[in-house]
Symmetry: D2
Subunit: 352 residues, 4 copies
């Protein structure tokens, strides 16, 4: 913590500030210049409330200088965390993982039809919600456990891994019986009770960035999970709220190199939720891969016009086919490969 | 829903749009002008995903025209909802309620000392957290049930009502044994599982506006609680995230007249969380009362410099005394009265 | 400037950082703790680009610690700047100034009718635009010099001072012949060429906060004017862009105590532009006065339904009368007085 | 414009609303449903103030349905506007233009050294400011006309086209003697006097998106220039202000497909200003090209550590070389080509 002292502070005020810092356990180093005095307060208190010092008479400014997260930081662990789900799904290495599926699980027919085409086109993991967080209490809230069962069967039938959302601690036991990966939604990014609980399980967690969360806050939430012992955290950029109204949110692609610098955790990008309308999904998926994303998550539905939720941003299966073709070219161009069974890699798959 | 058709849309595209609207159960009214065609789609589907129509060829824009909330709206219920907690605490009528207390319950000594002075100075309800949502997993997380017990005793000893935060469905049973009013924090404003559960209980709920939630979203979250049968919802403005860095958040005081127009529910204002630093709390408390707030919540601590959390924004007891004097003058000036035992009202109390 | 060194930085990297700081003219003080090293770089370079250091290998973070403005700061000048316009208009002292008028000057009839009623109700300065910055090139752009002449005559006829907007350096000479105070609009807050020019004139300037400018940026723009020699700068809070859609902008009332702490310059509040719709103007005017504003600016029109611009946020004259009654009570309650001729002050005027 | 009538509106209120619409020149179409009435107000008044209707008794909501811009819209002109600057610089067609250069023109030596290497590496246009808009009045404000002369000579010596910023109408005559393309900066995006003037000249204009401007507002500002007769408008995405602090701004890459859909004007992307720190520039340049940008603008300096402005975000020449190699691969992968002399195109240049 750095404390900037006011130009006109009295000697007594300065002494009181130093005493307060000592009382809170900090070592204090003083830098005195012609115009100002700066105090370096050295100590290991990641969550110290800097306002405690900021309000003291004579204090001009206080800056926190320690990252609040430890286990999630690149300085704690230099090498990328590589997370494997089965043989073919690898996050955090040279692979780029494609996850696709509907917003909500609606029926057996929907899920099997879709799983078949997604698998054929190169997706390796399926998404789909059985418990849905909806803004309105009067909306479709998901099929619950029945939905989980349908999805598990569809995934198994076509060799796909499964990821689905958990909304509350009470759902853990049920969901754990079905899924390969748990997802924490944007509105729960700071539901600390939930983060703590998934920190105790042994399945990977996809942690979605909150609607107007910073990358620092996303890493702090990852820290909750990591500190419980679960090292399988995959971060998930899905757009942030801005004043731009042409898209549902604004995709923050610079978060990808930023996270890669600050943390060893993998990060995927979700153009469907970021732009919210299907005709912008493909260019943004290309851009996300070009920026270095470790995976892409997109919403696809066999019949988007009749989807029970998020139909407007869901791709038609033929659009997903085009997306796969276009991102494969970019994946190859930047020297990475598509995550999946060994044969389906690189530029050769473009012709397929 | 209103659908604006593109200027260059073909006749076929227009027909397809109308057919899609019919299929989703809407009555369609067509307005054709020289330059454009507008379709009015009339029907009662508060959560219809407008993007389903927006992506159709020939559609220029889609506007939702129905409020998504019903029970929370002024058009559903013309008269103010008045919520009483005991005899002396009245939200939603001419009274202005003052709630005060520390961020966290820390000790018996702290709570009894504080309860005594708050009560003497005119507060009628005490706040204080026993379960704390903290950004860092390494921070003080609250005293848990022990904290609830201390707080209940302190409140009872000095005739104060009690409000405390619930973070997760699993805490309901415990907290319900102690508190008069439950509070839902900013990070849980869209924790729908929790909202649903508190909708089934019979104690009032203070619902805090999320960090970058709109007033519409706040009312949608209130709708979840109301739709469960709990009519005792008190809204809580506490500042929103903006680019201004001099204050922790930006207090949105226009939310007060906005909510009063849109909804029948009472709304209180929390200058402590809004500005985040104690020396701006008093002027903002005055302003909130002048704008029409039904109550004020402020953080007060017997020894802010040693508080375990939020010390920087907590008032010293003597500052709280000054705040009470200043807001009483404003309360009287705008023709309202301080919520509390009958004698302590209006301008005469300034001299007390 | 404070430079936080990475935990894993090499000795060579540390030396390079220190050398770079020396080369840019800084004195360097080193604080070495168990976990990290912090460098205090002391020097007087308000506009040094901190990214120059931030990109060096081994640097974790860089914090600027000097305010970038000087002349505008409270530490440069302890006492409030008091700006007088004639005998009766005083900004920055115990008075609260009421400025009112239409968005645009439209006709002689409009301005004389309005000036008469505003003056009778207690306004002391009239606003009105002759050169209008409009989002669309096809909109009404103002009456130009003819508008200035009409407005000057209307103000003179009823003893009001005049304030009007300047959009470009080329208009200075013309506008200076007519107005008492110049106003710089939100979109020109960082038009440095214009700021520099009005810094050389000898009339007060009302400087409007930009649509998403911080208070620091507002003070930096004031610095441009002050550094040219013009000390008559009045700051103007008018709402900032946020995600809340019920109001045109979000009024940032905490900017008032913030500016009063950081700077010696007066600040007025403009509820009309902040909320954008007339029925929220009165409560927000009350709140602004309660928060400590040195003045209130509101839009009033004799016939808002037929105004050529901003009709929706303009008050009817009878609403302005009500506003004056309500704010006078608050002005008195907080111990200030209405700016104006000696007799019209304090609570006694409520009965008038 | 669509007017939603309140559920409880009286018949008289409804009639008054319709009368007001007629008085303002609208045709009115009424849609009456079980729960609500919607009025379609058809007419051609792009800048009508919808608040004029919004404040009438009985009005629930008002939605504007006409785009406010005409000449800039894709519905006005189906085909892309292609802007040529000399033979080799083509905006708006299959080419991707690379513009590079320093923030400020500092010296002859700097500009000639840089022009030589930029030209050799594939840039076709050089950027550099001679008149600088600086937040602080005490900062380096640019070399003025001397800077323009140096830059023109350096560009001519190495076959580069030139783009430089104009800050004020008074600079037009001087700058027009030297530059090929004018640039309007972010802070001047809504300086309507300036937009109007550059609308009358016959050189292309690079129009930078304002710091928190929406794409709609950017197109409205383009409309000002187009309406003056200048058809050579190139839009410029450079990041918007968000709460994310790891980067200077947040690059809004979805603006690229959004603008391509709404407008026929070309759009370039500027990763240097968007991220503000050099080590994130290359991945974001790749992403911008993948998203479909018609050009890339980056800051490069022969000695960034000693640059007089923006050194931290300026690339070293060797980094620019790497950037060119990486984006050429992406340009080829998506089927476009690098703008420049005929030989230097496509994938073959990777080996050069």
């Amino acid at each position: 913590m750095v404390v900037v002292v006011e130009k006109n502070a009295t000697k007594q005020e300065l002494e009181n500030i130093i005493e307060a810092l000592h009382k809170h356990g900090f070592d204090v180093h003083r830098s005195t210049g012609v115009n100002q005095t700066v105090l370096g307060a050295i100590g290991v208190q990641p969550d110290f409330d800097t306002n405690t010092i900021r309000v003291l008479p004579g204090v001009a400014e206080v800056h926190r200088i320690t990252e609040q997260y430890k286990l999630a930081s690149r300085s704690f662990k230099r090498d990328n965390t590589v997370i494997r789900v089965g043989k073919n799904v690898i996050f955090g290495d040279e692979e780029v993982v494609v996850i696709a599926g509907p917003c909500s699980v609606e029926s057996e027919d929907q899920m099997f039809t879709l799983a078949e085409s997604l698998s054929a086109l190169g997706a390796v993991m399926m998404r789909g919600g059985a418990f849905k967080p909806r803004t309105s209490p009067y909306s479709f809230q998901g099929l619950g456990e029945k939905g989980l069962r349908i999805m598990r069967n569809a995934c198994d039938a076509f060799g796909l891994k499964m990821v689905t959302e958990i909304m509350d601690v009470s759902q853990i036991e049920t969901i754990m019986q079905y899924t390969d990966v748990l997802q924490i939604g944007a509105r729960n990014m700071q539901n600390y009770t939930l983060l703590r609980e998934v920190g105790r399980i042994d399945k990977p967690v996809l942690l979605k960035r909150g609607l107007s969360a910073t990358t620092e806050e996303l890493l702090m939430s990852a820290e909750y999970i990591l500190s419980g012992g679960n090292e399988g955290v995959i971060l998930w950029e899905r757009g942030i709220r801005t004043f731009e109204k042409s898209t549902r949110n604004t995709m923050d692609l610079s978060a990808i190199p930023v996270i890669h610098q600050k943390s060893h955790l993998p990060i995927i990008a979700d153009p469907s939720h970021a732009v919210g309308i299907r005709d912008k999904v493909i260019p943004m998926a290309r851009a996300a891969v070009a920026a270095g994303a470790d995976g892409i998550m997109v919403e696809v539905h066999p019949d988007p016009d009749n989807a029970m939720s998020d139909g407007g941003q869901s791709l038609f299966p033929e659009q997903f086919k085009q997306l796969m073709q276009e991102i494969k070219i970019i994946i190859h161009a930047i020297g990475r490969k598509l995550s999946g069974p060994v044969k389906k890699k690189g530029i050769h798959s473009i012709e397929n």
